[in-house]
Amino acid sequence: MVSWPHWIIVAIIMPMAGAVLTPIVSRKNDKAAPVWALFIMSLTSLAALFLIVRVAQEGPFSYLVGGWARPYGIELHFDEFSASIGIICLIGWLALLFSYHYVAESIPKPRIPYYYTLVLLNLTGMIGFVMTGDLFNLYVFMEILSLSAYALVAVSGERVAEMAAFKYLVMGAVSSLIILFSIGLLYAVTGSLNMADISTRLAGIESRLPVMLALAGMAMALMVKAAIFPLHIWLPDAHAIAPSPVSAILSGLVVKTGVFGLLRVYQIFYGAGTYELAGLNTTLIWLGAISIIMGAFFAIFQEDIKMMLAYSTISNVGYIVMGLGLASQYGIIGATVHIFNHALIKATLFLGAGALMYKTGYRTLTDLRGVGKAMPLTSMAMSIGAISIVGIPPTAGFLCKWYIALGAFQAGQPAFGFALVFGALFIFIYYIRMVNSFYFQPPTHPEILEVGEAPVSMLFPVLLLAALCLVMGILGRIPLSFIEPAVTRMLGG
């Protein structure tokens, strides 16, 4: 069962076909769309589970699409990093469940099937992105996920939603073009599109200039996708205005694809072995550190709860990029595990914020005062999320930040370890503000005390994710030791 070779292609085709079929399935009955989407995502998760079990048992494996031998055909390559398909399926499934009631109120009825189509397409793009071993295929999946993400930002129909989506689209499209240009350059010098093959061929390339240009272009464009500090301007509006389940997907997963792309680029260049990457590493460390501080700094001044969470994403992606740039064993392990843990934490917080907005209709911290008494479970889950994201043990955020700090010491750059702790302090300040206004301040609107908990379809994902934040803190060794062989292989060349 587990060793059936075709699960990897099923995991891509299933959500893609499901997405296209959603409007047809729900033609007669518009209640059918969410059920169908959940059904498709469940089957995809099953395939993902088999893939993860297989990679844990056998190590990395490849799948040749259509049986064409590499490097001529498209190769799907599943390694330990690709196991992030698990978190994509988990967050995707929970966000779809959360959408059931949330979207029914915030989106006009005839458009609801198209919303589910877009979410499924977005998940398809990400699933393909983490599993592909072909550089051009990577670009195609990136475009699938980016285009559906632009449309999902606009879907809420709020006043500035289209403007935010357009801003996101222009930034995203320019960065995609630069990635395409870099892929073209790499193809020109190596004559191959297969990542592993490019990696071998790059070692013997005489003219370094086009290769370095391609590396710079890719790194910069992926930093736009990952919203690293000076390139982040599209993120706060887009993530704050999108419907809450979409925000959870965008902030937890879509932003990470930029970081994941950087990881893949590093794999190619570490594999080639003969390239000097110190310049890029230093850039990433510095930009990561600046992102941590600036993201946290802006977040302190936000009144809107989702705006605050959006800025917090910028500082957390800063942690991941810094860990990657440190290029030490601990740093990269911490960064990859933080991709996973931050997705859990940020999904908890965004879905929780969505539940609060759904029940109370307010979205600023002042308006939401006293909600802790009205919606105790949701508020508790959000407090757990807040504690996790600051990195207080024994929660999910602690271990990976600890590892990144260790990585800074291992790389001989202890100053950045302190920058990390300093950033955590900033983050602590604004999450304390959130917890404070939930529990310890008299309500601005007394009627807020009357609202009850959100429906089960919204409460369950929030509570489950909050529980996972705690569990991953206690069982944190599992992802760390799971990813370790992949990182060793990557650094060892």
């Binding site: 051009f136 195609v140 475009e143 285009l147 632009y150 449309a151 606009a154 006043r159 500035v160 289209e162 403007m163 989506a165 357009f166 689209l169 222009v170 499209a173 320019v174 995609s176 073009l177 395409l180 240009f181 073209g184 193809y187 020109a188 599109l193």
Partner: protein, 117 residues
């Protein structure tokens, strides 16, 4: 220097085209003009990648009667075919967003929109 430019005239032309597009994206206020700039950038990149595969005096790589080497590399063309499909979808999405911005705000000038926010 000049000679290198002349030999690689096609690459140089794509770079110039790319910069023209980038200028329009950054400097123009009208959203449609901004997006046209983006389309120009797309064309520049497409032209660049297709030019990568060109061989002087190369033939179309179709096997059969009368096929003779050298052949033009078909892979960049196949890639750009996909790239064009992506560009068309991006354009469709962007134009529909612009229409909705116009319906809601009554303008598509970025500076006026910024004032309304």
């Amino acid at each position: 220097m000049i000679e290198a430019l002349w030999v690689n005239l096609d690459y140089a032309a794509s770079v110039v085209l790319f910069l023209i597009g980038l200028y329009a994206v950054i400097a123009k206020d009208n959203l449609i003009k901004k997006f046209m700039g983006l389309n120009i950038m797309e064309t520049a990149i497409f032209a660049f990648i297709v030019a990568l595969g060109v061989v002087d005096g190369g033939d179309a790589p179709i096997m059969g009667e009368g096929a003779r080497a050298p052949f033009t590399n078909p892979i960049p063309q196949a890639l750009i075919l996909t790239g064009i499909v992506v560009a068309v979808s991006t354009t469709a999405l962007a134009l529909s967003l612009i229409i909705r911005i116009y319906r809601q705000c009554g303008t598509i000038e970025a500076d006026e929109l910024r004032e309304m926010e």
